[in-house]
Symmetry: C2
Subunit: 202 residues, 2 copies
């Protein structure tokens, strides 16, 4: 073995194994032993990079979170120069629906982490911070669409944003854990976007 | 020890310990050893009633599910003789919001099971069956409210029902795992019920 081990590469190898275990068997199955077997390295090697179960959880969630963010940025970049509020909000929320296998793997990790956060306050606070930011951005979009007359008024923008965001998460949850079809999820979200923000431009 | 052990009482004692472990530490922590320690009995005794981890999972979920159903029945019974569609749907969906400690404990078990079902097809099919039934009931209520003019038309009742149900589940998820306030969750759900089914009767 060469003296200069490529730390970055080794860490990525272990991280990828960790994500495969989490995505296929849930975070409950993420253990030193399982991850080491999946990565084809020793338990000691895994422990060197991820000393505790919590540090593994944390890594898995940040990793899935970073991919959600990248997908949202890609979705926005694909909209062109001056997207409408309807297009912007729709593109962001569609990212929350686990439509293909990669997205489903990340959604499983996110769901396992949400379940973990439900019993651990500090993790819930982390999730809450990111959620509040997205909710406030959505509320701004709804408020702006209402002010131009594109969206129907009479609905509190923050309540509408809270509900719309929760609907997208709930649809994702049901696709993943209760066999809701992705077509039904997309149709339900689209119908709600029409109601909250007006129909899409033709 | 008397020869005639009270099996029912012992089973309930172990089941209650199992639910306490699941609610406070998540289903991942539900093990023979943990449950036995919590119940103050031997691991062998726990194994007698729940031979496998899957049988524990199954019991915990059925138990939480039965309490959801009882709460929904109570909520409907509290509505009087001829509730409007708005009242009926509202009462059913509010049960999905974890508003007090007992409901939060059950919601943690439900969430842990959803996460488990996301990696296990048979569990997802179980959840899916119950969900489809509720969704179809909600769609009937929306359709009926639209036909009497109480609710605005122009929205597909099944899409609206799918979205509304997912919104309630998503709000519950965010209350539990991301620190969304119960007030914000109730306000968002109420606003959506007004939109889908018309304002409540005065």
């Amino acid at each position: 073995m060469p003296k200069q081990v490529d730390h970055h590469e080794r860490r990525e190898q272990i991280a990828a194994a960790l994500m495969r275990v989490a995505a296929t068997q849930g975070l409950a199955a993420v253990s030193l032993r399982h991850v080491a077997a999946e990565a084809g390295v020793t338990s000691g090697m895994v422990q060197h990079y991820f000393p505790t179960k919590d540090s593994m959880m944390d890594f898995a969630m940040r990793s899935a979170g970073a991919r959600y963010e990248a997908r949202m940025n890609d979705a926005i970049a694909g909209l062109g120069e001056r997207p409408s509020a309807r297009e912007l909000v729709g593109a962001l929320l569609m990212v929350l629906l686990p439509l293909d296998e990669t997205q489903q793997a990340d959604a499983r990790v996110a769901l396992a982490f949400q379940s973990y956060a439900a019993t651990k306050l500090s993790a819930a606070e982390d999730l809450g911070g990111g959620n509040a930011e997205l909710r406030s951005f959505l509320a701004d979009q709804i408020r702006s669409a209402q002010s131009t007359g594109a969206a129907p008024g009479g609905v509190d923008p923050l309540h509408a944003a809270t509900g719309l965001f929760a609907m997208a998460e709930g649809l994702g949850l049901q696709v993943l854990s209760a066999g809701l079809s992705t077509d039904a999820a997309i149709a339900a979200l689209d119908a709600q976007l029409d109601i909250t923000l007006g129909p899409p431009p033709r």
